[in-house]
Amino acid sequence: MSSSTSQRFTVDTVETAAATPDTEQPFTALGVKDDEYARIREILGRRPTSCELAMYSVMWSEHCSYKSSRVHLRQFGEKAPETDFLLVGPGENAGVVDVGGDLAVTFKIESHNHPSYVEPYQGAATGVGGIVRDILTMGARPIAVLDPLRFGPADAHDTHRVLPGVVGGIGGYGNSLGLPNIGGEIVFDPCYAGNPLVNALAVGVLRKSEIKLAQAHGSGNHVVLFGARTGGDGIGGASVLASATFDDGKPSKRPSVQVGDPFMEKVLIECCLEIFAEDLVVGIQDLGAAGLSCATTELAAAGLQTKGVGGMDVQLDLAPLRDASLAPEEILMSESQERMMAVVAPATLPRFREICEKWDVTATVIGAVTDTGRLRMTWHGANIVDVDPRTLAHQGPVYERPYHRPAWQDALQADTPDRLARPKTGDELRETVLRMVASPNLADKTWVVEQYDHRVRGNTVLAHGEDSGMLRLDEASGLGIALATDGNGRYTKLDPYHGAQLALAEAYRNVAATGARPLAVTDCLNFGSPEDPEVMWQFAEATRGLADGCLILGTPVTGGNVSFYNQTGESAIHPTPIVGVLGVIDDVTRRTRCAFAAEGETLLLLGETRDEFGGSEWAHVEHAHLGGLPPRVDLERERLLAEILIAGSRDGLLSAAHDLSDGGLIQAVVESALRGGHGVRLVLPEGLDSFVALFSESAGRAVVAVPRGEEQRFTELCGARGLPCARIGVVDGDAVEVEGEFAIPLTELRAAHTGTFPGLFGQ
C-alpha cells in the first residue's frame, strides 16, 4: 500500500532540484514574492524542491514570520519595563510570569478571524484549540479562556450567521476541554461586517521549575509526532488565510476549513501533563499554523540557536495519515488540529509511549535529532528537504513597510461630537438611558455567555459580568489571578497612539477594580492590510502607544499576535488592538465584585469627568457619529486609581467597584444595580452638566460602593493620594434615580437591558 502510494507522486528531490535549475516553480501562487524566491535560491545555492518551497512559503508568510510587523514589535522589548517576574518573554509559544511561591502563569491571545468568517463554528472552535495548545506547550495546565469578539451590525443578516456559529464553536470546543470561559467582550460595528474578529486568550499554570521550551537538542534523541492523524485540513491556510482578502475572486485562495476534535485535545492535554510531570521530553512544540513545517523548523532552529549544535532528520512518510492520498508537500502544510511534536531521549521513550497508550493517543517516531546543522527530510528514501532550519524560522524577510498619516485623519479629528444634539430634560435623559442600556454593545450578554461553562475546575471566583475574570490558583493560600481584555476600535481609529493606550488602560483598570495587581500584557493587534501605508501608520502608532503605555504602567508585553488583512476591498476595519492584562491577587477572598449588594452604602465616583464624547458609545448609538478625539489618557492617574482600588480591596474598604468606560457613569451604575438587585439614588456633582456626568467616557474613573463605616477612611485615603473622589449617592430602593432628572424602576431597566440579545438571536 505505502509503496503504491509513493508512486502516485513524482517526488521532487534535492538531487533533481540541483540538476534542474530552470524548472519553473509556482511560487507566486504560494504567496512568495520574486525577491523572496531569489533569496531562497541564494540560501540553498539551488532552486528549492517543491517541499522546500512549500515550507518557505508558509514560514515566510505574514502569519508566521511577522515580516511587516516585526520592526514595530521590537519596541515591546526595547521599551519593556524592568521587572523581576518575567520568566519567559516574547518569542516563545507564550510568555511566562512569576506569580509568587513556586507558581508561574503563562498566557497569550491569538486571532482566528478569517477562518471564523468562512466557517464560524469550526473557525472559532479551532481558534480556542490552537491557543490552548500554545499554553500547553509551555508545560502548563490550561486553566481558562477568554474570547474578545467583534461582529458587524447586530441586526445584519450575516451577523446572524456568524455570531451564533462563533459562540457555538467557542462553547462547543472550550466546554468539551473542561476549560472555564471567564471573560472577553462582544462589540458590534459596521466596520467588522465581513471581517469579524474572533480572538482567543488562554491562560495556564505551572511550577516555575517545569517550564518547557520548543527546542530540539541531543543528537540521537527521537522526534515524536503524537495526537491526531494528519489530514487535508487548511492546506496552505497559514499563508493564504493571512494574506488574502475575500474579494479577490480566486477560489484557490479560499481556505479549506480546519475541523476541530475537542475530545482529542482534552485527551492530549491530560496525556501531555502526565508526560511533563515525569519530565519525559527534551523539547515540545504544538502543530498550529504551518503544521509540520513550523514544528520541525522551530524545534530544530531553536536547538541550533541555543546550543550551537543541532539538526533534525525526518522520515516524512512515517507520519500517520487520515487521508492516504496526501502528497508530501500537503503533509508539510497541513493544519490538522490536535497534534504535538516532542523530542524524547531514547531512555524515556518507552515510558512516554506507555502514557500515550494509557490515553489512547497515537505516538509515532518520525525522526531524530542530529548534529548536522541541517533539517533533512525523506519520503520513502528520497531526499525531499535539506535546509538550514534557521533560514526558515528566523531569517525570513523583514519589511520596512512605508506608512503615512492618512489625509483624512485631520478632518476626522476636526469633526467633533460637539455639534450633536444632546438630551436636555429629565425625560430626554431617561429615554436616552433606556435606549443606551438596550443597545447591542451595552446590552446584557447572558444569551452568549450562558453557552460557555465558566465553572468547570471549580476555581472560578469571578467571570462574565464582573470587571475581570478571576481564578483561584492555590486553595490553601488563596493566591489567584485576574484577567481582562479590552479594545476600542473607534478610539483607535480617531487616534491610534492613544486608542491603544486606552485599551491598555481599560484592561488594567478592570483588573485593578477586582482587587488584583496588574502584572503583564498580551496583545492581539487586528488591522487592515499592511500594504496600505495608512493602515501601516495606524499599526505603527498603535504599537508605539502600547509600548510607551506598558513602560509607564510597568506591565511588559509577554507575547501576542498580529492579524493583518482584516479588510474588504479598500475598506479596512477600525484598527483594533485588543489588550489582555493579567493581574495577581494574594487572597481571592478579598476580591471586589461590581454589584451593589447592600442598601445604605455610599457611592463614590473616583477620577475626573470631562466633556469627552469623541468615539463614545453615545455618539455611536444616538447619532452614528465617529469623529473628534478619544478621551484623554493619563496613565499616571490610572496607576494611582489602581493602587487605591487594590488597597481598598485588600483592606476591606470597598463592597463594590466598577470601572467607567463605554456608556459612562450611568451604564456602570445600571449594571451594578441590576447585578446586585438594589437601586440607587444619585446626586450628581455640582457644576457638572447632567448629560456629561452620566454619559461622558473620560478615562481613569471608577464608581465604588463603600460601607458607611468605612467612608471616611476611604475618602481620606483618596485625599492623601490626590485622587479626586466625589460622593454621588447611595444604594437604596428599587429604581435608578438621578435627583432632579429622572427615576427608572429596576424592572424596566432589566427588561431593556436583558431583552436585546434574545430579541436579536432567539430565546
Binding site: 466546554n175 475530545f263 482534552k266 485527551v267 491530560e270 453557552q451 468547570v456 471549580g458 471566583v461 477572598t589
Partner: protein, 228 residues
C-alpha cells in the same frame, strides 16, 4: 476511618476534580477511579461526574457505559452500592439502564450554563437525606443534552414511587414533568442533571447565592455511610 467515595474519570470527563473536591469538603476520602480499571478499590460509594465522556460522540454516555469500571459499578449498584451520576454521569446511568429514560438535546438547542432553582422532591434517597422534602435550592446546570425524557408510563411510575428526586421550578430545557433528577427503586442510584459539586463554596458557588446548596448531596451520603 473516613468513608471512601470514588469519582470516575473517563476520557473526556471534565468535572472530576470538582467532584473530588466536594467529597473532600464534605469530610469523606476522595478516591479517583479510572475508566479502564474494573476494580472499585473498596470505595463505599461512587460518583460519575460531569463532562463529555468519549466526546459524547455517539450519544452522551453511550460509550462510557461499556467501560470496565462501569461493569463494576453496575454490579455494585445491584448490591446496593450508592451511585450518584451528575450530568454526563446521569446520562451514563440511563445508558446503563440503572435508571430509566434518556437525556436528549435541550429544547433551546444550546449549551446552557445557568443557576437554577430546584425543589427537592425526595429526601428518601441515599444522596438527599440531608434535605427537607420540598426544600427549594439553587444549583447550576451546564449541559447541552439535559432534557429528560421517558415513556409516560415510566414517568407515572417514577411519580407514584416517589423516585423524582428534584424538579426545576423554571424548566430550562424542556425536561418531562420538570424533572431534574431521579432515583432507582432502591434509592441508592441517583441521577441528577444539575451540578451540586459547583455549589459547595461561597467563593465559587452560584452568585448572588445561596452558594452552598449542593453540599448536602455529599454530606447526606457521608452521614449514611458513617451511620451504617
Amino acid at each position: 476511618m473516613a468513608a471512601r467515595i470514588g469519582v470516575v474519570t473517563f476520557p473526556g470527563t471534565q468535572d472530576d476534580q470538582d467532584a473530588l473536591r466536594a467529597v473532600a469538603r464534605a469530610g469523606a476520602q476522595p478516591v479517583p477511579l479510572w475508566h479502564r480499571d474494573p476494580a472499585l478499590h473498596a470505595v463505599d460509594a461512587v460518583i460519575l461526574p460531569g463532562g463529555f465522556s468519549y466526546g459524547d460522540y455517539l450519544r452522551a454516555g453511550a460509550i462510557a457505559r461499556f467501560s470496565p469500571v462501569m461493569q463494576a459499578v453496575i454490579a455494585g449498584a445491584a448490591d446496593g452500592l450508592p451511585v450518584l451520576g451528575i450530568c454526563n454521569g446521569f446520562q451514563v446511568l440511563c445508558e446503563s439502564h440503572l435508571l430509566p429514560g434518556a437525556l436528549l438535546r435541550n429544547g433551546g438547542m444550546h449549551f446552557v450554563n445557568r443557576d437554577v432553582k430546584l425543589r427537592v422532591e425526595s429526601a428518601a434517597t441515599r444522596w438527599t437525606a440531608h434535605y427537607e422534602p420540598g426544600q427549594e435550592i439553587v444549583i447550576p446546570i451546564k449541559n447541552v443534552d439535559g432534557r429528560y425524557t421517558a415513556a409516560e408510563r415510566t414517568l407515572d411510575e417514577l411519580e407514584a414511587e416517589g423516585r423524582v428526586v428534584a424538579r426545576y421550578l423554571q424548566n430550562p430545557n424542556g425536561s418531562a414533568r420538570d424533572i431534574a433528577g431521579i432515583a432507582n427503586a432502591q434509592g441508592n442510584v441517583v441521577g441528577l442533571m444539575p451540578h451540586p459539586e459547583h455549589a459547595i463554596d461561597e467563593l465559587t458557588g452560584p452568585y448572588p447565592g445561596p452558594a452552598t446548596d449542593g453540599l448536602p448531596f455529599f454530606t447526606s451520603i457521608l452521614k449514611q455511610l458513617v451511620d451504617a
